[in-house]
Every structure is written in structure tokens, then in C-alpha cells.
Point group: C2
């Protein structure tokens, strides 16, 4: 888990060299794709917690969330990605780019919660999944409330 | 790896119970998000193979690809997702839905290649990453060539 957290901080403090060539409009596209795919997997976990619990499906979903969270998405907030580019709309607020230390803390919390979720899911511990799911959702919301426009 | 392959087959043979409630237009959105996010991570791995090799970045990218591949995306090809829905366009060909056995084989190959890629990346073995990266890209292309419109 320490490794994943470190990776999160790294990703937010430096825009990875290799991904620096990604065009700003594609950075917005890719970050939205990551959040969208995580949302699908969060929805699956919620459905499993609310209804019949399929441990294998929950584990696969949690792994996807944790791996996306740990993939260095900070590199997708490069220069020029703070506003719409043509048809590519973004809801990120200017405040996001002005509070990178706070954003980094939220990202670290998010990575930690997602890693806990994946761990609990791998162990098939439904109660721990429920707890980590709440923490993961809470860290999503923490960022949305502060840094995403309605 | 066996587990990941089994999961892939499972995902394609049954549309997971919990995700059955996802609206067809959202199924298209989520599957496109998954492919898009994988494409970003494939691009990062390629940049690392062609230039300076950052083992940590490659590992994070490969983990994201393998976890997305293993997340049961077969459930995102449910009834009604074979054509555009309003503004939500899809390039999937009708042949995809008529050849589910072949699609299942390609998906299994893809999952296996992505798992090999993640394993090689975790071991920091650049030559093995190069090989598995080629196989992963090849299995993407196998599906695109047959089942995706230009």
C-alpha cells in the first residue's frame, strides 16, 4: 500500500516524462475515461453490497479501481487542461490547479482507500469491503465537492 | 493468471447479475472508457520501451491494463448495445454479437497477454515487457480488425 501511495504522490508532483507528449484534449479524455470506468466498477460493488454478493466480481471491480487510481492520473492534469478544448469539456475548477498540495492529499487518501478496498475484496471480507467502499466513495466526493463544477 | 483468464471467460459467457441494470447507452460509455484508459496506458508503456525506461511507471500502467481487462467488460455488450444510441456512437460490428465463441477466445488471449505484461512489468524485465506488450497489442488488433468498424 505504501508503494501505491508513493506512486500517487509522485504522479501528482511530476507529470511523468513519457506521458508529457499526450495532447491536452487527450489528457482530459483519458482522465474522464478513468473516472468513468471507476464509476462503473463502484456501481458493481454497490450492487453486490446491496444484493447478492459475488466475491469474484467484487474483487475484479476493486482491482480495476485500485489499479486505475494508482496509474498516475496526475499526469493528465497538465498545462492547458484547466478548461474546455473544443468539444472536449471539463468540469475541473480553477481551484484544483491552485491547491495542488490539498489535491495531492486527497489523491493520497483516495489511493489508500482504493488499495484497502482491493485488499478487503481479495480476502472476501464483505464487512471490510463495505467499510473501504465507503472510504473510497468519500474520497471521490471530497475532490468532487471542492474541485468539480456541477 | 489462470484466475484472470477464467474471469474473462466468465465475463463473456454471462452478463454479470449486478451490472445487468446498467443502461445500454451507459454500457457503451463504460466500455469505451475502459478501452480509452487502456490505450493511454499502452501509450505510456510504448514511450518507456522506446525511450527512457521507468520501471515504476510501466508497472503501474500494466497493472491498470490487466485489471481493466480482467474486470468483466463482457457485461458491457448487453442487449441494445449493438448500435448507436442517441449521441452515444459505437463502432462495434454486428459480427461481434454473431461470433461470441470467437470473441471469447480473443478476450481470453487478451486477458492472458495483459496478465503476462503485468507480471513482466512487476519483475522489471524490460525484454519480457517488450514481448508481452507486442502480444497485448496484437490481441487488441485481432478484435479491432474483425469486429470494429473503421
Amino acid at each position: 500500500m505504501k508503494k501505491i501511495i508513493a506512486l500517487g504522490i509522485l504522479a501528482l508532483s511530476i507529470a511523468g516524462t513519457a506521458s508529457a507528449q499526450v495532447k491536452p484534449e487527450d489528457q482530459i479524455k483519458y482522465r474522464q475515461a478513468g473516472y468513468s470506468f471507476m464509476a462503473w466498477n463502484m456501481g458493481k460493488i454497490k450492487a453486490n453490497l446491496d444484493g447478492e454478493y459475488n466475491a469474484q466480481q467484487v474483487q475484479a471491480a476493486a482491482n480495476a479501481i485500485a489499479a486505475i487510481a494508482g496509474s498516475g492520473m496526475g499526469a493528465l492534469y497538465g498545462p492547458g487542461t484547466d478548461k474546455d478544448i473544443g468539444n472536449r469539456k471539463t468540469r475541473v475548477k480553477p481551484e484544483f490547479f491552485q491547491n495542488m498540495e490539498d489535491v495531492g492529499k486527497i489523491a493520497t487518501n483516495f489511493n489508500a482507500a482504493a488499495a484497502s478496498l482491493a485488499k478487503a475484496a481479495a480476502e472476501g471480507d464483505k464487512a471490510a469491503v463495505q467499510k473501504a467502499f465507503g472510504e473510497t466513495g468519500g474520497s471521490c466526493k471530497a475532490c468532487h465537492d471542492k474541485y468539480r463544477a456541477d
